[in-house]
C-alpha cells in the first residue's frame, strides 16, 4: 500500500460520522472546537503537506496541524456549523483516520515535570562542578569558602525543585511503612546537603554539594528514560483504531433519530445499526437481515448470519445490511462490560509482580542504612568526634547511593524497548519486560493471532483473471470479508471495465447486479445458482460462486491464512524449550488443522472463563504463561497471564490490557520479544553485579574515611557510565537462547 497514493483500498465510508466527530471533540475557545484524529499511515513530509492542505481547505476549519511523531492531526473548527467531513476528506486523500479520544487535561504533565527537574539539576550540577574543580585543585581557604557558599546558593533551589520527585515518593513509601529506592536517596542527599551547609559555615575544607546534586541528576536521567518509554508505548497503542462503538443512532418514540453516546443507551431502546457499524450493546434484531463479523468477540472466523430475533453481542461488526435492533442490556451488562469485570477479577487474582529494582531496593536500602549507622557508631566510639563520624557516615550513604539501580535498570529497559520498537513491538513498561523474560509457556489464540483473521482467496493463479475482475468489481460494493478478499486478490490484475447499472446486496446471500440485460450474481451457491439445475454441485460451504445469466462463471474458495512466519516462530519457541499451546473460542474443526499444521496441542471452543481457568491452571502448576491473543474474549486471559502480547489489530480493550503490542504482520515478534527480554534480564543482572563490585571497593574506602568530594564525584560518575555502557551492548532481536537442558534438541542450522 502506497503511503501517499490516493486510496488504494476501496472506500468503506462510515455512514455519517458527523455526530461522532462532535462527541469526540472539545471546545478550546469561543466558537472553536478541536478534534484529534489518529492517522497511523502518516510517515513522510509529503503526507504532512497533503493532509494539512486537504483539511485546511475545508469550509469551517480554522487550522489543521499534523504531528508526525505521534501520527496525529489536530483540527480546530468553528462550532457554529456542523463538523466538516474530516474523515471523508482524509479518506479521499488516501489516509485511514480514526477519531482520537481527547484526554481530560495535560497528558504529559508528569513527563514535562521530570524533564524540567532534569534541566534544573543538570544546570546546577554543571555550575557546582565548575566551582568544585577549582576547590579540588587547591584554592585558598578564602576562595574556597566563597565557592562553597556559591555552591550552596545554587544547590538549595535545585535540591528543592528537582529533589521533590524523590522526596515525595520516599515519603509516600515511609507513610505506608515500606521502603523503596527513594528513601536512601532522599536521606543521603538531604543529609549531605545539610552537613555541607554546616561545614561551610564553619569554614570546613570539604563540601558535598556537587555530589548530592549530581546524584540527583544521574537518578533523574534514569527516571525520565523510564517514563518516556512508557509514555511512547502508551501513545502508540492509543493511536490505533478504536473498535468499541462510541455512540449509536437511537429511534425515539416520535420517529426522530438521535445520536446518543453508548453510556446513555438503556434497555428497550431501538437502535438503527447501519452496515459497517459495531453493535453498541447486547441486543436482539427486530428488522432486517445481515451478517456479523464476530471474530474479535468470540474468535469465530466465519461471519454469522443474523435475522429477526437473533441475539447480537456488543462489539460484533455488522457487515452487509442495515438492522433495527432493540437493546437487551445496558453497556455495563453487555458482553463488553462482562469482559471488563472478568479482567478486573483476574487482575485481583494475579499475584502482584514487584519489579527487580524494587525487590533489590528492599534488600539494598536496609544494608546501606545499617552500614552508614555502623560507620557512625564505630567512628564515634573510636574517636569521640561527632562531626567526623557524621561526615564519614554521609560519605558512606552517598557513595553507596544506588546509581547502578536507579540508572542501570531503566537504561537497559529503554535500550531493549528501542530495539523492540525497531522491530515493530511496543512495550508498555519495564516490568513487562522483566516478566516476559521469565515465561516458559506460550498460549496462542487462533483467529487474528496465529492466523490473520481475514480470509484470502486461494488458487487465484489458476483462475480466469477476467472472472476475478468482474467478481471484484461486484464485491467492491460489499463489506463482507469474502468480498474484501476478492477485491484484494484483484488489486494486482488489470482493472476490469465492467460497469453495472444497478447493484443490490442480499444480506446473508450475496450480491446481485444488472448490466444492461445481463444479470450477475455473486454469493452463496445455493442462492446464486437457485435457478440452475446443477445447483447441488458445490464443494464445501466456504465457497462463493459468480453467476452470469444462467451460467456459472467461476467458483472462489477462501481460507484464513497463518500469519507470516507463524511456523518458524512456533518452532523457535519450542526449540527454546518453551511449551506452546493454542486455546481458541472457535470450533474444533477449524482449530484442529491449524494446530496440526504447527504441531502444537490445541483446546477448541473455549469460553472466555475457560481461557482464564486454563491459564490459572498452568500458573498453579508453576508455569509462567505468556498469553498472545487479540479478541475481546481473550482480554481476561491476557490479564490473568504472567505476561501478555496482542497484535495491533486486536480489540482495543485487549490491546490496552496486553503488556506488549506488535504492529507487524509477522508472528516472529513473539520469539523476538522473548529473546530481547531475556538479553535485557542478563544485562540487568550484570549491572547489579557491577554495582555490588563497585560497592565492595568503595564502601570500605568510605568507612575508612578516605572519601573526599573529589573521590565521591569520580567514583559515582565512573560507575554510572559503566552501567550505561553495559546497557548499550543490548543488540537487536536474535534467536532465543535455549533454556539449560534444551540444547540437545537444538542445533542451529548453518
Amino acid at each position: 500500500m502506497g503511503c501517499c497514493g490516493p486510496g488504494a483500498e476501496l472506500a468503506l465510508l462510515a455512514p455519517d460520522a458527523g455526530e461522532e466527530v462532535l462527541l469526540a471533540s472539545r471546545v478550546v475557545a469561543d466558537g472553536v472546537r478541536q478534534t484529534d484524529l489518529s492517522v497511523p499511515t502518516i510517515h513522510c513530509g509529503a503526507c504532512i503537506r497533503t493532509i494539512e492542505k486537504a483539511l485546511g481547505g475545508l469550509a469551517g476549519v480554522e487550522s489543521a496541524r499534523v504531528n508526525l511523531s505521534t501520527r496525529r492531526v489536530t483540527v480546530r473548527w468553528h462550532s457554529d456549523r456542523s463538523p466538516p467531513p474530516f474523515l471523508e476528506t482524509l479518506k479521499q486523500a488516501g489516509f485511514e483516520a480514526h477519531l482520537f479520544d481527547i484526554e481530560p487535561h495535560d497528558r504529559n504533565g508528569e513527563l514535562s515535570e521530570l524533564i524540567r527537574a532534569l534541566a534544573v539539576a543538570g544546570f546546577a550540577a554543571s555550575n557546582i562542578m565548575l566551582l568544585s574543580v577549582s576547590v579540588w585543585s587547591g584554592a585558598e581557604s578564602e576562595t574556597r569558602d566563597l565557592f562553597h557558599w556559591l555552591s550552596a546558593i545554587i544547590a538549595l533551589p535545585a535540591l528543592a525543585y528537582s529533589g521533590r520527585i524523590f522526596f515525595r515518593s520516599a515519603w509516600k513509601a515511609l507513610r505506608h511503612r515500606r521502603t523503596n529506592m527513594d528513601v536512601p536517596i532522599s536521606i543521603g542527599v538531604l543529609l549531605a546537603f545539610s552537613m555541607s551547609l554546616y561545614d561551610t559555615t564553619q569554614h570546613g575544607p570539604y563540601a558535598y554539594f556537587d555530589a548530592s546534586i549530581s546524584l540527583l541528576f544521574f537518578l533523574l536521567i534514569g527516571r525520565t528514560l523510564d517514563h518516556m518509554m512508557r509514555e511512547r508505548a502508551r501513545l502508540a497503542v492509543k493511536g490505533l483504531a478504536k473498535l468499541a462503538a462510541r455512540g449509536a443512532r437511537v429511534l425515539q418514540a416520535d420517529g426522530k433519530q438521535v445520536y446518543l453516546p453508548v453510556s446513555e443507551i438503556a434497555i428497550g431502546m431501538t437502535i438503527m445499526l447501519a452496515a459497517g457499524e459495531r453493535v453498541p450493546v447486547d441486543a436482539t434484531v427486530t428488522k432486517g437481515a445481515s451478517e456479523l463479523d464476530a471474530s474479535l468477540v468470540s474468535g469465530e472466523q466465519t461471519p454469522v448470519p443474523a435475522t429477526v430475533g437473533s441475539l447480537l453481542r456488543a462489539g460484533t461488526l455488522n457487515l452487509t445490511g442495515p438492522l433495527t435492533i432493540v437493546a437487551t442490556a445496558t453497556p455495563d451488562n453487555s458482553f463488553l462490560g462482562e469482559m471488563v469485570r472478568m479482567m478486573e477479577a483476574a487482575e485481583e487474582g494475579r499475584s502482584v509482580y514487584r519489579r527487580i529494582a524494587d525487590r533489590a531496593a528492599s534488600l539494598y536500602a536496609p544494608v546501606v542504612h545499617l552500614t552508614a549507622l555502623f560507620a557512625l557508631a564505630g567512628w564515634l566510639l573510636a574517636t569521640g568526634d561527632l562531626h567526623r563520624a557524621l561526615t564519614i557516615a554521609i560519605a558512606v550513604l552517598i557513595i553507596t547511593c544506588p546509581c547502578a539501580l536507579g540508572l542501570a535498570v531503566p537504561m537497559v529497559q529503554v535500550v531493549a524497548a528501542r530495539r523492540l520498537f525497531e522491530s515493530g513491538i511496543m512495550v508498555k513498561d519495564g516490568g513487562a519486560l522483566e516478566r516476559l523474560a521469565e515465561i516458559d509457556t506460550v498460549v496462542f489464540d487462533k483467529t487474528g493471532t496465529l492466523t490473520l483473521g481475514r480470509p484470502r482467496l486461494i488458487g487465484s493463479g489458476s483462475m480466469d483473471p477476467k472472472a476475478i475482475g468482474v467478481a471484484a468489481a461486484l464485491a467492491s460494493h460489499s463489506r463482507h470479508p469474502y468480498s474484501r478478499a476478492l477485491v484484494e486478490a484483484a488489486a494486482d490484475l488489470p482493472p476490469s471495465r465492467s460497469m453495472f447499472d444497478e447493484v443490490s446486496e442480499h444480506p446473508g446471500y450475496g450480491l446481485e447486479a444488472r448490466s444492461g440485460v445481463v444479470t450477475y450474481r455473486l454469493g452463496r451457491p445455493e442462492w446464486a445458482l437457485a435457478s440452475l439445475a446443477d445447483a447441488g454441485r458445490t464443494s464445501g460451504d466456504e465457497s462463493v460462486v459468480l453467476y452470469k445469466d444462467g451460467s456459472r462463471l467461476a467458483e472462489f474458495h477462501f481460507e484464513d491464512f497463518l500469519r507470516a512466519n507463524a511456523t518458524t516462530a512456533v518452532t523457535e519457541l519450542m526449540n527454546a524449550g518453551i511449551l506452546v499451546q493454542v486455546v481458541s473460542g472457535d470450533l474444533e474443526a477449524v482449530v484442529a488443522p491449524i494446530a496440526r499444521q504447527l504441531g502444537i496441542p490445541f483446546f477448541a471452543a473455549v469460553l472466555p472463563a475457560g481461557k482464564i481457568a486454563h491459564i490459572m491452571a498452568l500458573e498453579a502448576s508453576g508455569r509462567k504463561v505468556l498469553m498472545v491473543g487479540d479478541g475481546l474474549n481473550d482480554s481476561p486471559a491476557l490479564v490473568a497471564a504472567h505476561a501478555s502480547m496482542a497484535p495491533a489489530t486486536a480489540a482495543d480493550i485487549g490491546r490496552n490490557a496486553a503488556d506488549l503490542v506488535f504492529l507487524r504482520e509477522s508472528l516472529s515478534a513473539v520469539p523476538q520479544a522473548i529473546s530481547v527480554a531475556r538479553h535485557a534480564r542478563r544485562l540487568v543482572r550484570q549491572n547489579f553485579a557491577l554495582a555490588i563490585a563497585y560497592n565492595l571497593v568503595a564502601v570500605p574506602v568510605a568507612i575508612m574515611g578516605y572519601v573526599t568530594p573529589l573521590v565521591a564525584a569520580a567514583t559515582m560518575s565512573a560507575s554510572s557510565m559503566l552501567v550505561v555502557a553495559n546497557a548499550l551492548r543490548l543488540r537487536s532481536p536474535r534467536k532465543i537462547a535455549p533454556l539449560a537442558g534444551a540444547e540437545a534438541q537444538l542445533r542451529p542450522r548453518p
Binding site: 475557545a29 513522510c44 504532512i48 496541524r65 511523531s69 480546530r76 524540567r116 565548575l130 576562595t143 545554587i154
Partner: protein
C-alpha cells in the same frame, strides 16, 4: 586571582539564560513533533513560525 572573579556571575548568568531558554522551548511545544519539524523545513509554504493561537490566548 581575585580579579577574575567577575567571570563567575557571567558564567552563571549565561547558564541561567540557557536554562530559561530550554524551559521556554519546552513550554512552547518545540519538542512536540521532532520528526515533523525535520520534514517541514523542506516545505516552502510553512516558513512562518506556527503558533498555537487559540489555546494560548484563551487558557491564560
Amino acid at each position: 586571582m581575585k580579579e577574575y572573579f567577575y567571570l563567575i556571575p557571567i558564567a552563571f548568568g549565561i547558564g541561567l539564560i540557557a536554562l530559561a531558554a530550554f524551559m521556554w522551548s519546552l513550554k512552547n511545544g518545540q519538542y512536540d513533533d521532532l520528526d515533523g519539524a525535520a520534514e517541514r523545513i523542506l516545505h516552502d509554504e510553512t516558513d512562518a513560525p506556527i503558533r498555537k493561537t487559540s489555546r494560548q490566548v484563551h487558557n491564560r
